[in-house]
């Protein structure tokens, strides 16, 4: 099997003793788009931070494109961070450079790209999220939705093997939310998307994982999971008013 991401037996407790993950095992195939659902405090962000080796030290292993995430190996870690592009929830955390262009260039420059090659990479990434004309704007002068898009570009510029997004649709107005969906659908890359926005998961990700209480509680086709009222209720997942997954899968 051509796995982009393999997580096995991953457990983690924060230094203050809070056990956030209790043995998570799953895998994501190359090119798949998977939603990671779960209530607040389920451990989703904690899991995400393991995927590129920012958090480590618990039990279990993570492999990205077959390569183990090993925080003690600095060089391998760099390659892992190239392969796993994480888009954080608050774009203000992600965009720390003075202009969008420099921010997008930050990642590839750290990978050693320079000059014309770097410029081309930046240009392409901004182009793909439709932000090329805003390249020289300061992040604080962009709208929230535009900042979120630039944040996606900063990660795309590293040509990741897998794109990991932490709540990409939060705080977006409906139009920006749809535009981001179109961008994500147009990308030819493995996607793992943490979200509370269940219709968004249904629209973008054929498959979903439910993380609850630090373990994978369910794994299956998104529409099937969303249609399973008992399962949903057990994990504090609620569909927005008027959204009927059966109607989407019903055909």
């Amino acid at each position: 099997m051509d796995a982009s991401l393999e997580v096995s037996g991953l457990a983690y407790a924060y230094p203050d003793g809070t056990q956030a993950l209790f043995g998570v095992t799953t895998s994501v195939r190359r090119g798949e788009r998977v939603a990671l659902l779960g209530p607040n405090g389920a451990g989703k962000t904690t899991l995400v931070l393991h995927l590129n080796g920012i958090l480590h030290g618990g039990a279990g292993t993570v492999r990205v494109g077959g390569m183990p995430v090993d925080p003690s190996d600095k060089k391998a870690l760099k390659e892992i961070r190239r392969r796993v592009g994480v888009v954080f929830q608050d774009p203000d955390d992600q965009l720390f450079m003075p202009t969008a262009r420099e921010d997008v260039a930050f990642g590839p420059a750290n990978l050693g790209l320079r000059g014309a090659a770097l410029e081309r990479r930046v240009e392409e990434a901004l182009e793909r999220v439709g932000m090329a004309e805003f390249a020289d704007r300061a992040p604080q002068h962009l709208s929230f939705g535009q900042r979120r898009r630039v944040a996606v570009a900063t990660v795309l510029a590293m040509e990741p093997e897998i794109l990991v997004l932490d709540e990409p649709s939060s705080n977006l107005d409906p139009a920006s939310r749809r535009e981001l969906a179109e961008i994500l659908l147009s990308l030819d890359v493995t996607i793992l998307m943490v979200t509370h926005d269940l219709p968004y998961a249904a629209q973008l990700c054929p498959r979903s994982l439910i993380l609850s209480g630090g373990v994978i509680a369910a794994d299956g086709p998104t529409l099937e999971l969303l249609a399973d009222a008992e399962l949903m209720a057990a994990h504090r997942l609620e569909l927005p008013f008027g959204f009927i997954p059966q109607a989407l899968s019903g055909a």
Binding site: I54, D92, D93, F96, A105, F106, P139
Partner: protein
């Protein structure tokens, strides 16, 4: 979000001056200010020449004169100080409108005003033609430790974010009926300041995570090469060179006429 006050000084134009590398402009400004500073204050024509030079730069840089004038208000405390000098300085006195003023004091006031104004206008022009972040690059290029410029760059980026957080907290306080009236309310304000500090700290942590996630290993990658060609150096040397000539001429005048 913030309205981006941080960029307020920069005037976006396409001009030769704007295109010059930042460190050239910094060196030119410092050179100009030095020339002005060493000029003997009795040579009034020299200061007129400096003013003309700056006016020339303003025109070439396509900065409106009105903008420069408006920004000169930061000079007001300066002016006030110079204004008092003729009253307090000792030495020979002259009658002006019935007031006995010190001649030395008058010249002193003129010197401070003229030199101060020229220095202020030169800095205004530098800031108006150079984006703050490239200004920082220029400073780094001139040998300031990269860590300092990195900190300044981040401050610059997050100024608006922090200001916004501060504003949100103020609104949250006001929404719950709080209004700072007297000293006893300082406790509440101090507590929100503590909260702000914590938020900044946490944000710093999250930004650091984001940087690590994109391969940061302790050194900022050099993105904008701010190298300067010989032609650019020569071009930016025009202002300080002209000012140097004026200063030299002023000293010659002082020596030969004495």
């Amino acid at each position: 979000m913030g309205a981006g006050h941080a960029h307020a000084l920069y005037v976006r134009r396409d001009s030769v001056v704007h295109r010059l590398p930042p460190h050239c402009k910094i060196v030119a400004t410092v050179g100009f200010v030095l020339a002005v500073a060493i000029t003997p204050r009795h040579e009034v024509w020299a200061f007129a020449a400096y003013a003309l030079l700056l006016a020339g730069v303003t025109v070439v840089a396509r900065i409106p004169f009105g903008t420069v004038l408006r920004r000169m208000v930061i000079e007001i405390p300066f002016v006030a100080f110079a204004f008092f000098l003729p009253f307090v300085a000792r030495g020979e006195r002259v009658e002006v409108l019935g007031l006995a003023l010190s001649v030395d004091g008058l010249w002193g006031a003129f010197g401070i005003l003229a030199k101060g104004t020229l220095g202020v206008v030169a800095s205004i022009l530098l800031a108006a033609t150079t984006e703050p972040r490239t200004l920082l690059l220029g400073v780094e290029r001139l040998g300031l430790p990269p860590l300092l410029t990195q900190i300044a760059t981040f401050m610059f980026r997050y100024l608006d974010v922090v200001a916004d957080e501060l504003r949100r907290m103020r609104i949250a306080r006001a929404a719950r009926g709080f209004e700072a009236r007297d000293l006893r309310d300082a406790k509440v304000l101090a507590r929100s300041l503590g909260a702000l500090f914590l938020r900044c700290f946490e944000r710093g942590e999250r930004v650091h995570l984001a940087m690590l996630s994109r391969g940061y290993d302790g050194a900022m990658p050099v993105l904008a090469e701010v190298g300067a060609s010989r032609r650019q150096w020569a071009l930016s040397a025009a202002l300080p060179a002209a000012a140097g000539l004026v200063a030299a001429a002023a000293w010659m005048a002082v020596w030969t006429l004495r």
